[in-house]
Amino acid sequence: MKTLIKDGYIYDPANRREGVHDIFIVGNKIIKVAKKIKEKADRTIEASRMVVLPGLIDMHAHLREPGREDAETIETGLDSASRGGFTSVCAMPNTTPCCDNQGVVELMLEKARNARLAHLFPIGAITKNREGKELSEVGELRHAGCVAVSDDGHSVKDSSLLRRAMEYSLMFDIPIISHCEDVGLSQEGVMHEGYVSTVLGMKGIPSASESIIVARDLQLAEFTGARIHIAHVSSRESLDLIKHAKAKGVRVTCETCPHYLIFTDEDVRTFDTNFKMNPPLRTSEDREALRQAVHDGTIDVIATDHAPHIESEKDVEFDYAPFGIIGFETAVASLNTLLIRDKITDWNGIVELMSLHPAKILGLDKGTLGEGKEADITIIDPNERWVCTKDEIRSKSKNSPFIGFEFKGNVKYAMVSGHVTFGDVSLHRRSS
């Protein structure tokens, strides 16, 4: 199959290429990127007035399979990701059974292959069953296809065990993704501890519960020389620590999520449980600091932390609802709507945050539109206006705070290894 993407505005910071170009794809590879390509194709995607990006990579998602297929499966999750323009997804290991062994990794990869949607890259558990007691067989996980290890949802409480995990991971050049939370401080908290939690009488999760563990993990990374990636940064205190560590040369990268850049703890006043996630939405000062950190590059990655929960679990009293929201289908649209509008970033920035940097951190040969590379491509109409409705959400779960939100910018196509996983190509078929 030969595909021509015509007249799209390309952003490819890895190759320092920007502007209107055509892309010629044969099979699963990008063969040529140039102006006015004349080659004959089996199909053409008209991309004029659209932006064409290296396929987006979500390095933090929960696909719930195996274990909670009622909330999401690998297939529905990857379909939802494709609709959001993601061509690669990393699945966190908090499945049942836990992704701490080759068997689960293989099962997940098999399901993903059958789905023929986005690429799936499992993340293995640092410790067996994420219990923080014994190291998982990181070598085997790496060999089976895991691109990182994480006990996401928990910090590795025992600092000595985390030190060993860091030292051990160095043998495989695999990053450790840190969920930073001192559960002694967050306790039964359900939202950020601040003025709003005081007014609402809700139990608070102080910012220090995150930043204390960020500080510890940075110290251990400096000490061991390991590569760590701090997941879902939500507070200014954490950012200050990370910035300082980066300046000292600690091998640290970090991510935040669209919701921390858009919402604040004020939104919890609605008692809508789609504003309940962990770490919690913090104050407008934190949100401002995060936006600034996206702007100045302290934040390397924007990931979704896509966390599906079924409606009957989520539509309950705020205290009883589980943490987490879905995020694939609204991520890039929300960033276009707000961050590009406010000049916090631009399309080159989005490519770095959502494709190039994740690829570098995870050691994937992706994140570019270079000739000879795998044809993972995302095409977006940056001006199309649309409203997120519950009925149109493709994820099996509908726990999104963006329902009813009007976006500017909509994903039109997602292509994975030359195969269109989202978007209507038949309309553009041409006889060759």
Partner: protein
């Protein structure tokens, strides 16, 4: 009582934060009119005849539950109550489903006491009947706040300019929050006082003065509203011992020596006698604790009347 009430048009009473000064004043004046009913030989008016009031109490309560029930009965409403031990919550039914089922039985008012903040708001969003918050976690207890303010106004003649000190476990107290909102809207000066571990963060932004000194809180105060200390907080390490709590924050005659001569002592009950208040203070001349209870019925009658669309 013939004048049309144009100020109150809310279906629900969820908290005092969202009420205006005018709305609070309407409740207080309506309560004033209803207070007399409870002193009659025949303690009943036909105002809510044919209306059904259901109370759902998912947390233990005697006073509030009884007070609501008597208020509804004295307005001639039909009342029925369930508590979480007798409800389907134990069978795993969600609160929303329980409430939807109650709605399907065509009731007019649902009164909810719940352990989690926002539970009545969740119901109000989905239910046709009026929802009255009878206490949601540490968030609000609007009828308690209103009956406290009603009592202060009755005793002092006004609320504006009153110096009210709230003493005790502020962090876990819905009574404190409802008092603060209501009192601030009516122009009172509010001081809160308690151990710093029971003081929620950034509470000063609610417009209150904060102190850890009981003497400071008592000095110049017109009213002390003393909160119940939950004994299990000590077990959770929020203060070292009951003994030390009594030493620092317990109110006794000695500590009231420098208080204003006409100070009012209030308490939402139930009192831990000998802990937050000594016997002689609880039963002493400054105490209006039982009058609060009496006023609670009038205030709740007013609320039931207003949320069901009653016209003054």
């Amino acid at each position: 009582m013939a004048k049309n009430n144009t100020i109150w048009n809310k279906k629900d009473l969820l908290g005092l934060e969202e009420l205006s000064r005018e709305e609070i004043e309407v409740i207080l004046s309506t309560a004033g009119s209803f207070k007399e009913v409870s002193t009659r030989k025949v303690k009943k008016v036909p105002t809510l005849r044919g209306k059904t009031v259901v109370s759902i109490f998912c947390e233990p309560s005697t006073r509030t539950r009884l007070s609501f029930e008597l208020a509804a009965k004295r307005l001639s409403a039909d009342t029925v109550g369930i508590t979480s031990s007798t409800s389907s919550a134990v069978k795993g039914e969600t609160l929303k489903d329980t409430a939807k089922n109650i709605e399907a039985m065509n009731v007019d008012v649902v009164i909810l006491r719940h352990t989690t903040p926002g539970a009545p708001h969740l119901l109000a969003k989905t239910l046709e009947p009026s929802v009255i918050n009878a206490g949601d976690g540490a968030h609000e207890h609007p009828t308690q706040g209103l009956l406290d303010i009603f009592t202060m106004k009755e005793k002092k003649g006004k609320v504006k300019g009153l110096k009210v000190s709230i003493i005790g476990d502020i962090a876990h107290s819905r009574v404190a929050r409802s008092n603060i909102w209501g009192l601030k809207k009516l122009g009172a000066d509010v001081t809160i006082c308690g151990p710093s571990t029971l003081m929620p963060v950034e509470i000063e932004k609610m417009g209150v003065s904060v102190t850890n000194s009981l003497d400071e809180a008592i000095e110049d105060a017109d009213v002390l509203n003393v909160l119940r200390i939950q004994l299990e907080r000590q077990k959770k390490g929020l203060f070292p011992s009951i003994r030390e709590y009594i030493n620092l924050f317990g109110i006794n005659r000695q500590r009231l020596k420098h208080a204003k001569k006409d100070i009012l002592i209030m308490h939402p009950g139930p009192i831990n006698r000998g802990i937050e208040l000594t016997h002689d203070v609880a039963d002493g001349p400054y105490s209006v604790i039982l009058e609060q209870v009496t006023n609670g019925i009038a205030v709740r009658m007013a609320i039931l009347f207003l949320v069901t669309g009653g016209k003054i």
